[in-house]
């Protein structure tokens, strides 16, 4: 039985290799003639970053990005190539990164470096012995440039494996400045009470106050995580993320009660709860910044900027501005996400690349392309393309070590990462009927028990 499943994997790997061969051939055509540029090799930049000579080597990097995101990343890789002479081959993983990588690894063809989108995958891969620990140079850069919280996120059972080169800030409320002006609101709300008051005023002024993208379950989990982190505190948050306390815990009840203060009021939600359940995340952004009666506020991470730029005519910084998620408890929450770079192959090349990614140079080049946040605390903040991104990045860094990684990304996929089941579905049901707090808790607990048990 073991053998047959191995066969299966080998077959899949063969297919993957065939694809890869095609990809190699293609990139080989495109990248010809650039090989000689890095001839001098080994370089030392002003920031004291030392990289080895890697002339003639080709490194493979796998990540989920496509399109503009991939192009921006490749700009960073161009610099790496200039300094070391190594060629970089980018492999898009598709949406299911862990499956893609698992197949490649079992087929004996892992990429040199991969970006993992979930903490859980890092732990899982480390346990299977698929990850190579960070070398001394990379560790030095990491210690110099990153706060302990981010270093720890890339660590599993005492060994450092990963570099968080890209982060996301999921504790932001974006608002339509026109709606705020029309309602005469001058200052952004700092606490949950202010936030509800602001929403009420906006609603009185005739704008749908809060746009909720309830047709996508993940936006609702992010709502819950922010409220929970701020109200119950980081310790409880960690325990709940690891399912060490149950979802029937009183702290969860409090968080849901708090959420119900907003979700239970049809007047405050764009389209009412029924409308929110029919609103996907992209629509929740567009209906806040375009249309005849735009909503006033929409909650989500820094990536909302991409939707505003892409789908609406609103200008960031003038029509659309952002404030941190209001504090429900004593401190405003900072929920983050991010992609961690790990080495899947031994050797100088992969380590050099991780060292480079952990450096301020790489962070600055990447930040200058726009669309990303770096948790690198030593980098020059003026590298960021616009004031809004800078503000968001500063907020993330200001949280120091009290930020927390997205809870649903830490949970097994069956609970925190699948459309129509688990936490996504249960919170959607809760949005439909915000009075049923106890029932929601029980459903969440039942689903969590099942997913954590098998996962």
């Amino acid at each position: 039985m073991r053998t047959s499943s191995n066969n299966r994997n080998r077959r899949a790997a063969a297919i993957a290799t065939a694809f890869l061969a095609g990809a190699l051939a293609l990139s080989g055509c495109g990248g010809g003639g650039n090989d000689k540029s890095g001839g001098t090799g080994g370089s030392e930049s002003s920031s004291g970053l030392k990289l080895p000579k890697l002339n003639g080597q080709t490194l493979e990097v796998a990540a989920v990005w496509t399109g503009a995101e991939q192009a921006n990343f490749m700009k960073v890789m161009d610099e790496f190539k200039k300094r070391t002479g190594a060629k970089i081959n980018f492999v898009p993983t598709g949406n299911n990164t862990s499956t893609f990588l698992g197949t490649r690894i079992q087929g004996g063809k892992p990429p040199d470096v991969a970006f993992l989108p979930q903490v859980g995958v890092l732990h899982q891969f480390a346990d299977k012995g698929w990850l190579k620990p960070l070398g001394a140079d990379a560790k030095a850069q990491l210690a110099k440039n990153f706060s302990k919280g981010w270093v720890d996120l890339g660590t599993w059972k005492g060994t450092r494996y990963g570099v968080y080169a890209k982060a996301a800030n999921k504790s932001l409320v974006w608002y339509n400045t026109q709606a705020f002006d029309a309602a005469g609101i001058k200052t952004a709300p700092k606490t949950w009470k202010d936030f509800l008051q602001t929403a009420q005023t906006l609603s009185d002024a005739g704008s749908p106050a809060v746009s909720v993208g309830g047709a996508d379950g993940w936006t609702l989990t992010d709502w819950f995580e922010n409220v929970y982190l701020s109200q119950a505190g980081p310790e409880k948050y960690d325990q709940l993320a690891a399912h060490k306390i149950k979802w029937t815990d009183p702290s969860v009840k409090d968080a849901l009660t708090t959420l119900a203060q907003l979700w239970g009021k049809n007047d405050l939600i764009a389209g009412g709860t029924q409308g929110a359940l029919n609103t996907e995340f992209p629509k929740s952004v567009t209906q806040t910044f375009s249309g005849s009666t735009p909503a006033a506020m929409v909650f989500e991470g820094d990536f909302v900027a991409a939707n505003i730029n892409g789908d609406t005519k609103a200008k960031l910084g003038t029509d659309a501005k952002v404030f941190p998620f209001p504090a429900v408890g004593s401190q405003a929450p900072v929920v983050s996400g991010g992609d961690v770079a790990v080495a899947l192959k031994g050797g100088q090349g992969a380590q050099a690349l991780l060292t480079f990614l952990a450096s301020t140079d790489a962070a600055q080049i990447w930040a200058a392309q726009g669309g990303i946040l770096s948790p690198n605390k030593e980098m020059d903040m003026s590298s960021y393309k616009d004031a809004i991104t800078k503000q968001i990045a500063q907020q993330l860094l200001a949280a120091g070590d009290s930020f927390r990684f997205d809870m649903s990304d830490q949970a097994p996929a069956a609970f925190g990462g699948t459309a129509g089941v688990g936490e996504w579905k249960d919170l959607q049901d809760f949005l439909r009927n915000p009075k049923d707090i106890a029932g929601t808790q029980q459903k969440l607990e039942a689903d969590a028990a099942k997913a954590y048990g098998t996962g």
Partner: protein
């Protein structure tokens, strides 16, 4: 085969070669026969028999395929709510969809026989078959869109509704909760807690509409005065905020045409409508009454039917399926109809049967073999339905629309990651299809014998 050989032999067009030793009656050596059958056997074995065997075997193992769990996966299926909903929905699908499609196909086929433009009509009804399930799913996702401006189904529902019920002037308006003594009094109306007196004008502040979105060109509100029973209905919010809540501040707009009722002991004693400056005057008998703003002032615009909500989602998707497959049924039944002996119909008519009786007693029984074929084909098809449900059902109600094939996909690849349970569902689906297949094969065999 034999019959073909006989006819050609009988026609005498070709000389039949004499049977050689080592050849079968069919005139083929055994190894040649095996050689010719081999590709089919290999393909069937690799693509049908092996996967079935592997699925059955896999369904006895756990999520990552390393531990034998016996029949536990099957037990899990029948204790899991999501899968039970899927079983229930699949049963609804099998019971409803094939029957509706066949009935519609029968009606279309019989009617198009008599219409002059029958072929054109048939072409149009058959056209959805040319669209892939995925595209049809996307089309119906748009048809069932909640917003009447986007979704065709709700656009129809809304225009029908609005023909009978007129909409209000100020949908969404509501009293300013902090500064007014208007409180909800059931059914969407609002009533003051205090009573109105002559000489003290009543203030009825409303909010919830953007000042620049008021219909027409509203005048500025004026505080009512005078000795009669008067008051003002106005929008207690001006662009940019400011002013005192509950007071008629300069620049705040009047709400014209709001109906105000004076209520004493639950009975309406008088009513008035606010004028262009927002003021209204009630007759003297309203003295001491409470003021009520009836719901007709504020009723929200009709927003259509929640097609893809938990209750209607399965019927809605079945509707999409019927749209796709009615053409298929019509064409097959139409072909059957063409083969029906007209004399029988004529004979029935001569005997004095009316059209309904002819249809019911003659056409349908004659068509029954075709109807059974259509019904069975559709039943097998319906059990496998996946794409329509996956695409049309929005995330929040996907659970309520779940069918077995979708549950199979979700539990093995869609984040559940449990291929054991997925295989078990696959095996159950196979067991459900088998009886239908059996009936189908029996019928085919009987037909051949005839």
């Amino acid at each position: 085969m034999t019959s073909v050989a006989n006819t050609t032999g009988g026609a005498g067009a070709l000389p039949t070669p004499a049977a050689e030793p080592g050849k079968s009656v069919m005139g083929t050596r055994l190894w040649v026969a095996v050689l010719f059958l081999l590709p089919a056997f290999v393909l069937l074995g690799a693509l049908v028999v092996y996967p079935i065997g592997y699925s059955i075997w896999r369904s006895l193992y756990d999520a990552d395929g390393s531990g034998f769990v016996g029949l536990k996966n099957y037990g899990d299926i029948f204790s899991d709510d999501a899968t039970l909903t899927a079983v229930r929905n699949t049963a609804i699908w099998v019971a409803v969809a094939p029957a509706v499609v066949t009935a519609l196909g029968l009606i279309f086929a019989v009617l198009t026989e008599r219409v002059r433009w029958g072929t054109a009509f048939k072409l149009i009804v058959f056209m959805p078959m040319a669209i892939s399930m995925l595209a049809a799913g996307i089309i119906f996702r748009l048809v069932y869109e909640q917003d009447p401006n986007l979704g065709a189904a709700n656009a129809v529902a809304k225009s029908v509704h609005d023909t009978f019920v007129s909409s209000s002037v100020y949908p969404g308006a509501r009293p300013n909760a902090t500064a007014s003594d208007l409180k909800p009094s059931g059914g969407g109306s609002f009533t003051t807690t205090g009573t109105v007196r002559a000489g003290t004008p009543a203030l009825l502040p409303l909010v919830g509409i953007a000042p620049d979105k008021l219909p027409g060109t509203p005048e500025n509100a004026k505080a009512a005065s005078g000795s009669g029973i008067t008051g003002t209905v106005w929008l207690d919010f001006k662009l940019g905020g400011g002013g005192t809540k509950g007071k008629v501040d300069p620049g705040e707009k009047a709400l014209k045409g709001v109906k105000v009722e004076a209520v004493k002991d639950g009975k309406v004693v008088a009513s008035a409508k606010s004028g262009a400056d927002g003021t209204f005057t009630l007759p003297a008998k309203a003295d001491g009454a409470r003021l009520r703003l009836p719901a007709s002032n504020f009723s929200a615009p009709y927003n259509g039917i929640d097609w893809l909500g938990p209750t209607l989602v399965t019927p809605a998707i079945i509707g999409a399926y019927v749209w796709m497959w009615a053409g298929f049924a019509m064409v097959l039944i139409g072909a059957g109809l063409a083969g029906v002996d007209r004399n029988l119909l004529e004979a029935a008519r001569v005997d004095g049967a009316n059209e309904w009786q002819v249809f019911r007693r003659v056409t349908v029984p004659l068509l029954s073999p075709v109807l059974v074929v259509v019904l069975i084909t559709l039943m097998i098809n319906v059990m496998k339905v996946f794409d329509l449900v996956y695409i049309i059902a929005p995330q929040p109600s996907q659970d309520d629309a779940n069918v077995l094939a979708l549950q199979l996909f979700l539990s093995s690849f869609g984040g559940g990651g449990n291929e054991g349970v997925g295989s078990a569902i696959g095996v159950i689906l196979l067991l459900l299809v088998l009886p239908v297949m059996f009936v189908n094969i029996r019928r085919l065999r009987r037909e051949r014998q005839r």
